[in-house]
């Protein structure tokens, strides 16, 4: 019951936060120079046709009025249309959001697979060499520019060694994407039994996922390391060792207590990467949501930017809510 009230309270809190985000986003986007009407019609347009189009797009009304119109529309689920794709923003995002999610999720999985073990090893300092590597890696990974690393990986594995297939897009140019169920090409093609699509989408994921994984393993490693260190030196660990518990058990307990920090950093990374993976998306022509928003900003295409901002903010907030619930589940102290 208490949990439900808690969730309810948090969800209620979402509303003013989303409102604030929309407001800031709207003002920001309107401040970007560039007249969509001119851009849509191109250099051949006459001033008359531009004026006509501006009227159609509602650009000639005062700002507060435009804002209210916009709020009204999104309250009804209409996020407008992107003038670049001429599709409704919701439909565009329905394709691009899962694309980014797929990339980011796999990337974080790889990052976890690298970061947690190395972090634990560095914390326990049992293998000196590995521990040193862990320290070094934690700092270096965070220093690497992800777009640069992507370029280097492309150069090495594609241009030089020729191991990878073309580093462009989510699936081979000649194959049709699987039918959309989740929007994740890998899952959808598995469900369909479409092996060529599955293999191709997996192959195309390798380089970008590697890029994101390598770079984001850094913060995960550092967090794991510091959290484990703290836990291993905490009173309860000392006590456990004094009582004669085997080291493995001590480690397990320490890890369990270190989980909240790790979960926190993963949730922060998740929220960040939805928009933060844009550079990698650009290098690999991924067709993701961040790329969509950046194109929108640069091309004075307002609706995609706002739509993306709202959805990614919603996503972050929901992730944080889920994380807090996970805390509730794993940390008995909070439950009281």
């Amino acid at each position: 019951m208490g949990t439900l009230r808690y969730i309810g309270g948090r969800l209620l809190f979402l509303v003013p936060q989303i409102f604030g985000i929309v407001l800031v986003g709207f003002l920001l986007v309107k401040a970007v120079p560039g007249d969509p009407a001119t851009l849509m019609l191109g250099p051949m347009a006459t001033p008359d046709s531009i004026a006509k189009l501006r009227g159609e797009l509602g650009l000639d009304k005062p700002l507060p009025v435009q804002f209210i119109i916009y709020i009204n529309r999104i309250a009804h689920g209409d996020f407008g249309t992107s003038w670049q794709t001429t599709q409704p923003v919701v439909e565009d995002l329905a394709v691009r959001f899962p694309a980014t999610l797929e990339l980011v999720s796999f990337g974080l999985l790889v990052a976890l697979a690298i970061g947690i073990p190395l972090g634990i090893v560095s914390a326990t300092r049992r293998h000196r060499v590995l521990a040193r590597i862990g320290d070094f890696y934690g700092l270096v990974a965070g220093a690497l520019p992800d777009f640069w690393l992507a370029l280097i990986l492309i150069y090495v594995f594609y241009s030089l060694l020729g191991w990878m297939s073309s580093p462009i897009g989510r699936i081979d140019v000649m194959l049709l994407p699987p039918r959309t169920i989740t929007g994740f090409y890998t899952i959808d093609s598995l469900v369909e039994g479409n092996w060529p699509a599955f293999r191709s989408s997996l192959a195309h994921l390798v380089l970008p996922v590697l890029t994101l994984g390598l770079v984001n393993a850094g913060p995960i490693l550092k967090t794991t390391q510091s959290a484990m260190e703290r836990m291993l030196q905490a009173d309860f660990s000392l006590y456990a060792r004094l009582c004669g518990l085997p080291e493995k058990l001590v480690m397990r307990h320490a890890l369990r207590n270190a989980l909240p920090s790790i979960v926190t950093i993963v949730s922060v990374l998740y929220g960040f990467l939805i928009g933060g993976a844009v550079l990698v998306e650009i290098v690999f022509s991924w067709g993701g949501a961040g790329q969509y928003a950046v194109q929108g900003v640069l091309n004075a295409d307002f609706n995609p930017v706002l739509g993306f901002v709202i959805f990614s903010a919603l996503f972050s907030l929901i992730v944080y809510l889920v994380v807090d619930l996970v805390y509730l589940a794993i940390d008995p102290r909070i439950r009281q």
């Binding site: 051949m44 046709s49 670049q84 073309s166 022509s285």
Partner: protein
Amino acid sequence: MTERDRLNVTRRTVLEGAAAVAAGGVLPASFPSIAAAAEETHTMVIAAPATPQSLDHEFDVSLGTIDSVGGLYDNLLEYEKVHDPKDPEALREDISVHTDRPYNLALKGKLAEKWEVSPDGTVGRFTLRQGVKSNWANELTADDVKWTWDRKLHLNGLGPFQTGVLGITKEEQIQVDGRYVISFHVPKPNPLLLKQMVNLSNPVYDATKCKQVSSSDDPWAHKFLENNTAGFGPYVVSQLTRGQQAVFKARADYYRGKPYMDTVIFKEVPTSASRLSLLQGGSVDIAQFLQPLEYITLTKASGVKVDAVPASFAIWIELNAKIKPFDNVKVRQAMNYALPRDDVLKAVYHGLADKQTGCIPIIYPNFTDKFWTYDTNLDKAKALLTEAGFKDGFKSTLSYNAGDPVQEPIAILYQTSLRKIGVEITLNKVPAATFYDFVTKREQPMIFYLDSPWVPDPGYSTQLYFNSKSYVDYSNYVNPEVDDLIKSGLETLDPKVRDETYTRVQQLVMGDAPWASLSGRAMCSPGAPTSRASPTTRPII
């Protein structure tokens, strides 16, 4: 106009060519059993910078749209094809003045079977081919042509320029004279009357279908034509996913026979480097709009053929005559002398461009380079500046398009060169989309521009850029004598008079130097020779 050159622009001409070859021998369509057994589906994949935003060309001049319109719709007329003198395997349109041919043009009928212009030059009458079906199985009649042109008058997009250049302002000027006969009545004899019918901006729509899908608030089928085809061309759009790909399917009932390529897929691949790698890897057959260095790399690769031919596409820098110090002709001339063209052609274009030695495309009729004096000469530039009163130089800004990778290096080279004569310019990088905003607002002192006038006619080209009332006169160039000359040249059909007129126009314009003339880009097309069918004429764009 649009970033598209004049050479053999249409994909359909390519594919028709290939179709002719195919019919001729490689995969005979008259043996259906063999064709079926071969299981060849002849798909061509093209890596393009962008999918079309909208298939309604009235409002969209993007690259993808032009390419698509070329394949989806047909015009009344077309130019005959000749082999390019330097690249014999490449076909190009024959746009020269042929004094021995009717109307001095080498024209072929497409949707029109016969055409004639009245002796006084004010009426152009076209007899349409009979039995031509659209992709909605409606027959081509004069009504379709009328509806198409009326649409231009009503919609206020690109239309007004196309009609204005002919002097057509009222629907009454376009008359249906018979089921298959249509005539255009222009106020003065107009040399563009026939050429406009070849212009890719003026294809013919299937009016029957369009009227069916129109509504009271969309009487000209704009919404429908944005995403669908209603025309008489060889292809129809079967799928359009913007930002990803466009798929065109060949029409079996195309009046010239089914095209060779059953399916043409346009894939959107925004980065040229990516398009290059797709071509190298064999995933695509043609890669569009690569960077010069990328073309050079391809010429060394096996399995790829690069055709490069001079075209009408040029790049230059507008010198805004309304902003000091570019209101002074000597300053503008100095800027031309200071531009390191040879360096740019070598380092940026790697030989894939020529100097633009005139103000209309080199390949267009009546082009002359005898007024060109601006080969790079820093001393002359400095002297001119001193004469103009700028002994110590001046400061200015050069704006360039972030989306075009050649512009930044060119700008940097120019900046270094100008520094040597005391001119300090700041480089202003403008995002691709707001770039045209900048150009059309005409508030920047110096800005790049690339373009190609679509109709191979000196009147059309000069009218675009040098007529002081033209929307595209982005350099704010004003010279009443030039205005009059251009106008008079558009009102006569006499080729000698036109030659004299436009030679004088070029003389004046070159003297006034409204642009820092840079280069005409070669139209390059790298493609993988399709080993499946080995057409003897390689597909080129």
